[in-house]
């Protein structure tokens, strides 16, 4: 006799075999959110589905389904998925921007070819967000692209964001650029202070 009473029903059913993708693609535009959620989840990893996932993301209002579409794109993780997500970095909706950045951050390899261009974007907010993408890149490369940004960046908030990422991943190669940046922004109260802390951090962790 089990100590703990157990229901007679068997809680586990037979595994469903993998299904074809066509019905899921159709279900992505169903009026029923549950169907769209299931479809987005089933299309994760299906590279051919990127265009339909992109179109679905464009019109999707349900936050849970949006999440599932993002996850599906994350699982595919190719250049086309990255291109689908990039425009959301310009969204007026802060939640959409941060969802896009989180998804892109999980794809450091696929995002890398785009980072330099994003860091040179005309839009300050895009440059600021793009510094986050460097966080998951190999330290040497992250240092390189962030230093390139710091050399020409005029907006102190963007510099501050880059400095913060460098504090985490930067190598000693960043030190001269950081010093120059501190001098350039000597009048901005918070920046030289943040840079000093980052210089100290990099100097102490890397030999």
């Amino acid at each position: 006799m089990p100590f703990i009473k157990r229901g007679a029903s068997t809680p586990v059913t037979e595994s469903k075999p993998g299904e074809a993708t066509a019905p899921h693609i159709a279900a992505l535009s169903s009026p029923d959110a549950e169907m769209r959620w299931g479809a987005a989840r089933a299309l994760g990893g299906v590279a051919a589905a990127v265009p339909v996932l992109a179109a679905a993301l464009d019109g999707e209002q349900n936050p849970r389904v949006r999440e599932a579409i993002m996850t599906a794109l994350m699982r595919i993780g190719d250049e086309a998925s990255v291109r689908t997500l990039l425009p959301y970095l310009r969204s007026q909706d802060a939640r959409q921007r941060s969802a896009a950045i989180e998804t892109l951050q999980a794809l450091p390899g696929a995002v890398e070819p785009f980072v330099a261009a994003l860091l040179g974007d005309a839009d300050t907010d895009v440059r600021l967000l793009a510094t986050e993408l460097a966080r998951n890149m190999p330290p040497k490369h992250a240092t390189l692209v962030l230093c390139d940004l710091l050399k020409k960046e005029s907006h102190p908030n963007v510099c501050a964001a880059a400095v913060e990422v460098l504090a985490e991943v930067g190598t000693r190669d960043a030190l001269p650029t950081l010093k120059a940046c501190a001098e350039r922004f000597a009048n901005v109260p918070f920046l030289p202070f943040a840079i000093e802390a980052t210089i100290a951090r990099i100097s102490s962790t890397e030999s």
């Binding site: 703990i4 009473k5 157990r6 809680p11 037979e14 993998g18 089933a42 849970r64 999440e67 999980a106």
Partner: protein
């Protein structure tokens, strides 16, 4: 001396690219993400599998693996899992279950209803048995409901050990002598066997957290313990696992993660519930259409 039936791992030269291919293969099947910093861990296990299959080179081993000859995928997965666990691990969460979660869930239940609890991953069984023991010891309502404890893991070897229920001192370190007397029978040299009544309180099954179709077999859980596995996953696998678990739970159901894991950094699907004993996550009760 190595027993004659255990093949000796011979030094097979494994190139960096081969390690990447293997890790990629493993990642796609399990969600576990190994990078170069784990080379020692990877090389040792890979060498063991190459020896066990009698493959002369990585290439020939990889062909065996891709063909899944002799269930090699299962053996490889079993070799790469980390099964570390023990009884009453993070018991503050068990306390939280009996002091808060169950009473909240009971608001929607009637006497005799089922309460479904899932330990995934359960590894060698210490966690689901701990849940059953804790309920026996600390929850006065235990006989008034149909409590179904399901315990799942991807690792078939661990599941076999779980069903056998034989444990040594390390697994028991957090249990009082009294508890050991009550729920185990001594067999030999410090090892004990779980009481058959307790063993039959738990249903063991194989499940893969990142396999959507596989996870559709599991539904309607009220409480899920998903502890100390997401640390082996990358961000993508964590999100996939979270979405899979969402579908396996009843609205209003709770999920407990390991102490170094936080759902807030993985997915916004669940809401955070802070209790004095633990932080747990809840699948929202209402559907979220249009919100």
């Amino acid at each position: 001396m190595v027993p004659p039936d255990v093949p000796v791992a011979r030094a097979v030269l494994i190139a960096q690219d081969d390690v990447r291919r293997l890790c990629e293969f493993l990642y796609r099947r399990t969600g576990m993400s190994f990078d170069d910093s784990k080379r020692y861990f990877i090389d040792r296990r890979l060498a063991e599998r190459i020896a066990a299959t009698g493959s002369g080179s990585f290439q020939s081993y990889f062909a065996t693996l891709r063909a899944d000859a002799g269930h090699e995928i299962e053996h490889l997965v079993n070799a790469f899992t980390v099964n570390e666990t023990y009884f009453y691990r993070e018991d503050h969460q068990l306390r939280c279950m009996t002091s808060h979660l169950l009473s909240d869930l009971l608001r929607r239940k009637r006497t005799g209803d089922s309460i479904r609890i899932w330990s995934i991953p359960c590894s060698t069984g210490e966690e689901p048995y701990s849940i059953a023991m804790w309920l026996m010891e600390n929850w006065s309502e235990v006989d008034n409901y149909n409590i179904e404890i399901v315990a799942s893991d991807i690792d078939t070897r661990a599941l076999k050990a779980a069903a056998e229920g034989i444990y040594g001192a390390r697994a028991l370190m957090r249990l009082s002598r009294d508890m050991i007397e009550r729920y185990f029978e001594r067999i030999d040299d410090g090892r004990v066997r779980i009481d058959p009544g307790l063993r039959d309180s738990v249903q063991f099954t194989q499940a893969n957290l990142v396999d959507g179709p596989d996870m559709t077999r599991y539904r309607d859980f009220d409480i899920v313990f998903c502890r100390n596995v997401l640390i082996y996953f990358d961000d993508t696998s964590r999100r996939v696992a979270a979405e899979n678990l969402y579908d396996c739970m009843r609205p209003g159901g709770y999920i407990c993660l390991g102490h170094s894991e936080t759902m807030s950094r993985i997915s916004p699907l669940f809401s955070v519930c802070r209790y004095p004993e633990a932080i747990v996550y809840q699948r929202p009760e209402a559907t979220d259409d249009g919100s």
